[in-house]
Symmetry: C2
Subunit: 140 residues, 2 copies
Amino acid sequence: MSATEERPTALRPTRQRVAITDALRSAADFQSAQDIHDNLRRAGDKVGLATVYRTLQAMAESGEVDVRHNPAGEATYRRCSEAHHHHLVCRSCGRTVEITGSAVERWAHAIADEHGFTDVTHTVELVGLCADCAAAAARE
Amino acid sequence: MSATEERPTALRPTRQRVAITDALRSAADFQSAQDIHDNLRRAGDKVGLATVYRTLQAMAESGEVDVRHNPAGEATYRRCSEAHHHHLVCRSCGRTVEITGSAVERWAHAIADEHGFTDVTHTVELVGLCADCAAAAARE
DNA sequence: GGGTAGATTGAGAGTCGTTCCCGAGTGTCC
DNA sequence: GGACACTCGGGAACGACTCTCAATCTACCC
């Protein structure tokens, strides 16, 4: 790993990449690569599955999209706001709430400092039962 | 899903299940099903891969183990210890520090309450550069 | 506008984790 | 001890994802 190279992230805005970006923009929730691929095909955009995976991976790496694994183990993607945030997910229906919590950020930094770690990123995920699903479960 | 049956969770303590439980107990960290299967084989415990998956799934369902997906998308399992903790991992050398932070626990509960979620569990992972690796990188 | 180098694409085969199937084996209860 | 249901395990099947490589496209220079 050399420190000199200045990765320009010069991703060419090809037809395929634009289409994938658009698909993500118009989707409110997490979508699997296969979903995106299907939707594009259905909309008449002929894009290869490999390209969809490649593009999503590149976008995830550059922080343009969030990646999550659904309970089936499938990777799902969603365009994310630039602002760093976390997720609160319902384990029953999959509903997702975005959370921005400066409290965790502070905590993470404090812990990192305490142990001499620098340049720390963190992943936080809360999984629970949303009010609707809890009510449905109680009704049985 | 019927509400009448009272699944007794009467899992027979077979040799295989005991072996898997022991393997989980002796492992400090998240392990994939394949890891567990390999370890059991190596230790001379002949257990089928299908059995490992089945057992882990049953244990996850009954809340005995935590399930997580590692970046490769592989499901990993860990015995749900009473002492809940998180990890601070060095992205360069892989060194891991265990963290117990009641601050995050409180934060997680507060957030869950705020959004009407119940029965919330959370995963937190901090990834950074440990002091040694940071020094080594600066020396270049 | 034309030419060129290098990035990007896509079809399909390959890999890998996981689940399903079903005959054989084992534990439990009477 | 015997009957019966639960459990096991090997291997095939499945599905998500990655790799390969020739063809195509884009940015850039002249």
